[in-house]
Symmetry: C2
Subunit: 251 residues, 2 copies
Amino acid sequence: MHALTAWVPAGFPDVRPGTDLAAAILEVLSRNDLTLEPGDVLVLAQKVVSKAEGAVVNLAEVAPGPHAQQLAKEAQKDARLCQVILDESRRILRVRPGLIIAEHRLGFICATAGVDFSNVGLGSDWVSLLPRDPDRSAAGVRRAIEQRAGVAVAVIINDTHGRPWREGAVGVAIGVAGLEPIYSYIGQEDLYGYILHSSIEGVADELAAAASLLQGQAAEGTPLVLIRGARFTPGGGRTKLLREPERDMFR
Amino acid sequence: MHALTAWVPAGFPDVRPGTDLAAAILEVLSRNDLTLEPGDVLVLAQKVVSKAEGAVVNLAEVAPGPHAQQLAKEAQKDARLCQVILDESRRILRVRPGLIIAEHRLGFICATAGVDFSNVGLGSDWVSLLPRDPDRSAAGVRRAIEQRAGVAVAVIINDTHGRPWREGAVGVAIGVAGLEPIYSYIGQEDLYGYILHSSIEGVADELAAAASLLQGQAAEGTPLVLIRGARFTPGGGRTKLLREPERDMFR
């Protein structure tokens, strides 16, 4: 019988700009008596990656331009925050009081282009951005863990994004290393010999969603989830999860 | 340390119209030495629920009307299949050769309105539909299991749906019993005392996605996943996961 287990090690340290994430991960795993095995998947919440990499902004140092002032009026949000959102975006998709949906410069479509006040912990004027290059962040953590612990694990950086049509945000993968984010069943036979011709699964997003269930967003904050028993093929790359607009029948 | 485990019991029986699903679940759990506990979540693939309930159609008995003929031409699909898709839909959203995206009569937005050839096993002309009322199906399984095994579990019926912007289908909940599908962090404090004011999580969809990782869609088909260790509040109802169009900023 196949089984999958996800552990949420307690006591992840407070992360500051410059924190060595791989060291923090190995220490917290060790303190929870968890030993990494080949094929394990580590899912790390975007927020700690952003903070460790210094992808944070002090709004006190931001001077909003006219576009940000206009956006702030429409969205009823802080104009300095709006400037940061504009800086992080390719384009703004929707605005209403209290909500800005943007296409992030890396292609993610999400509220406030991923700019967020929660769980930053540097002061009330500080916001976090998404990591500059989350695939690179994931690959860096993966490499450092392989070097120090001698085990090749897959690493996913996840965030929770809202979505069209359905209520509630769900965890999605924004950075992926060591794991092919998409699995195709096309050409395989079903239980009765019918050849599947349209089944492609977003495996990395499903792992990100499973981890998100356990991470929580409030004071219990547990940014690291270790998943064992997931079946995947080697690979990586967030861009495989981003549909090209011209192929996107849902747009 | 918090942990979540998901088991995929082997040997789920072939399901036919009329199969007693609760009996099949209890038997396969027992054969795999799994004993249900309060707070467990059972995730059941839509396909077996549809088959057990007889939500299947023999295309040989379908006479396509003019609208279906037209749709078949545009989508390059079987006109009888298109008639069934129309019968299952409120409206057709997008059509291109090989693909029809529809709003299912229950509000789900998905390819072919959930009408599917795979894993039906009744003959090459048979397709499956989504269950008539998946919340009711979930509640029925939940009730029967409580009566026979004396344990109150939550039941989710899941399916994999494509989505805008991101590649790969992911598991979503189409029927929910015994579990509140949405969890709100609004009003809670984050790690540093900041009051969260926009965090709402699609817990049932995250559980559905986790299960979908394990169910597979090919010949190994394992429609039942038992999840232990998920934190949720009692409740139910798929409609809470469906965003009203007028509130949907992503549309």
